[in-house]
């Protein structure tokens, strides 16, 4: 479960000698996603989608309000518990964030190795997943030797390989063609059916139409529309 309760986020920025300018990025955002729920996160560029996801994967902390991730209060988390919670969250970043010195295979294997899975398990899961995203022949390639779409598929594989309880994706189809996007959606819906809570930020209108799920619409840093409330009636 994910719950935001009156969450606000300010970025403080020192402007030379003048007093610190504080930028309101998010204001009083409240919503709840039950465990196993699926949400599209939509909104214009610069609305605050990436920032909202950052709060969910614990890379940012709210200046105001309360956040609960997978039933845990994110504010009161000791460093170690936060790390363990992060292992249960799979994230596809807008800029992929692959490790440049590791092969595609090792990048995808990373979360499993962190969880101290056996190498046999790692091998079977990683090769199967990379086969599924169409990268069977490129296990040994470094990210720099792959196209944007191929890197995106590696980052998707890395995000799902540990069967996370919360899956977050930031424009995951930005570099994919329709066929690949549909394969990705099969992966995500499969994960979702097994109980993973999913939030996907996207501009892809077709995807939102083809895979109906409640939308969370962000506009200028506020939650403009929580479709789940409408669907619930």
């Amino acid at each position: 479960m994910v719950r935001f309760d009156d969450v606000g986020l300010k970025y403080r920025r020192a402007q030379g000698k003048s007093p610190v300018e504080s930028l309101d990025i998010l204001r009083s955002v409240s919503f709840e996603i039950p465990q196993g729920g699926f949400r599209w996160l939509t909104g214009a560029s610069g609305a605050g989608k990436t920032t909202l996801l950052k709060l969910m994967y614990l890379a940012a902390h709210p200046s105001q309000g309360k956040i609960e991730i997978l039933g845990v209060d994110a504010a009161k988390l000791p460093v170690r518990e936060a790390a363990l919670l992060r292992r249960r969250i799979g994230v596809v970043f807008q800029d992929f964030r692959l490790l440049g010195h590791l092969s595609a295979y090792d990048n995808v294997a990373l979360p499993m190795r962190l969880a101290r899975r056996s190498e046999a398990q790692v091998k079977s899961d990683v090769t199967e997943l990379l086969h599924w995203v169409g990268l069977s022949g490129k296990l040994d390639r470094k990210p720099a030797e792959l196209s944007g779409g191929e890197q995106q598929r590696i980052s998707i594989a890395r995000a799902v390989v540990n069967r996370p309880k919360l899956f977050l994706a930031d424009e995951p189809t930005g570099n994919l063609d329709d066929l690949q996007a549909d394969r990705l959606m099969m992966l995500i819906t499969g994960l979702n059916k097994m109980g993973t809570t999913v939030v996907v930020a996207t501009h892809n209108q077709r995807l939102v139409k083809d895979y109906p799920a409640p939308r969370l619409e962000i506009a200028h840093g506020t939650l403009a529309f929580d479709e789940a409330l409408v669907w619930a009636g």
């Binding site: 936060a82 964030r97 440049g100 090792d106």
Partner: protein, 296 residues
């Protein structure tokens, strides 16, 4: 198995050879400082043993005529000494003995240099404190005569030793601080270089202790390696210094020089790499954990 994977890219991030080299240089200094302290204290010990009760009297121009007497200055001084309480077994050193004494400073045969060598009388001093009355009596018959007890020298040597040891200790302290600073700077450079990778694996839920541990393991290896290198480089210098010190330690030249390093040194020197490794590990742990705090 997973241990072989270099998740942080440390191999490239910290490929700089600079850290081991700097640590080697500092271990070299530390080895010299340690050896210096030990040598100073063992020398001081010997001085105290040998010379504590020694009385040495130097008579310049020994052949000249003494004051108000038909005797030579040397004869006059000797008879005063023989009569004085507290002075036992006075002995006029032969020319050979004087040459032996001066050889470390002046070379093979000091006599051939044509220097005005004073006569030297040695004796045992059992009087209390400084021989001031004796000095006055000697000066009266042969002006310019110098009388020194070993206690006087022993005190001076003790003071010298203490200040040498204090200097060596401050060298060790400074070396330790600089080593920590160098390790911290190198670690921070590694962190800055590997920043993206660290943020990524931190985001995937790697524990701070794991990240710090990987950095620390690498730095510990590098500092230990550098310190072994530096200490080994110091060895020849230490042997050379030990051979220079031979005449002062009462060991004569024909005795074997190979084992002339103090035995304590064979225990202390190997502890330098161990200490360096500890400094490396502790400093890296603190630096990395401090740096990671801003990510959480």
């Amino acid at each position: 198995m997973a241990k072989k994977i270099d998740h942080l890219g440390l191999r490239s991030a910290m490929a700089d050879r600079l850290l081991p080299v700097l640590v080697a240089a500092m271990s070299f200094l530390a080895a010299l400082a340690v050896a210096g302290t030990l040598a100073a204290s063992s020398l001081a010990g010997q001085w105290n043993q040998n010379t504590g009760a020694d009385l040495t009297v130097q008579v310049p121009d020994p052949g000249d005529q003494a004051v108000a007497s038909a005797e030579t200055r040397l004869q006059a001084v000797f008879s005063v000494l023989a009569k004085s309480p507290g002075v036992n077994a006075p002995h006029v050193l032969t020319a050979d003995e004087v040459n032996n004494l001066l050889r470390p400073w002046l070379g093979q045969d000091a006599g051939q240099l044509g220097l005005p060598v004073p006569a030297v009388i040695t004796a045992q001093w059992s009087g209390a404190g400084a021989p001031d009355a004796l000095r006055a009596a000697l000066d009266a018959v042969a002006p310019g005569t110098l009388a020194e007890t070993g206690t006087h020298w022993a005190e001076r040597v003790a003071a010298l030793t203490a200040s040498l040891q204090a200097s060596a200790l401050s060298v060790l302290l400074i070396v330790t601080l600089v080593a920590s600073a160098v390790v911290a700077v190198a670690t921070r450079a590694g962190l800055a270089q590997g920043r993206d990778a660290i943020e990524i694996i931190h985001g995937l839920g790697t524990l701070d202790s794991d990240i710090a541990g990987r950095f620390a393991a690498r730095v510990t290896m590098q500092t230990a390696f550098g310190a072994v290198l530096g200490t080994l480089c110091a060895l020849p210098v230490l042997f050379w210094l030990a051979s220079l010190a031979l005449p002062f330690t009462g060991v004569t030249a024909d005795m074997t020089r190979a084992a002339s390093l103090p035995p304590v040194l064979w225990v202390v020197l190997p502890s330098i790499p161990v200490l360096a490794a500890c400094i490396g590990w502790v400093t890296t742990q603190f630096t990395v954990r401090g740096w990671l705090r801003r990510l959480s």
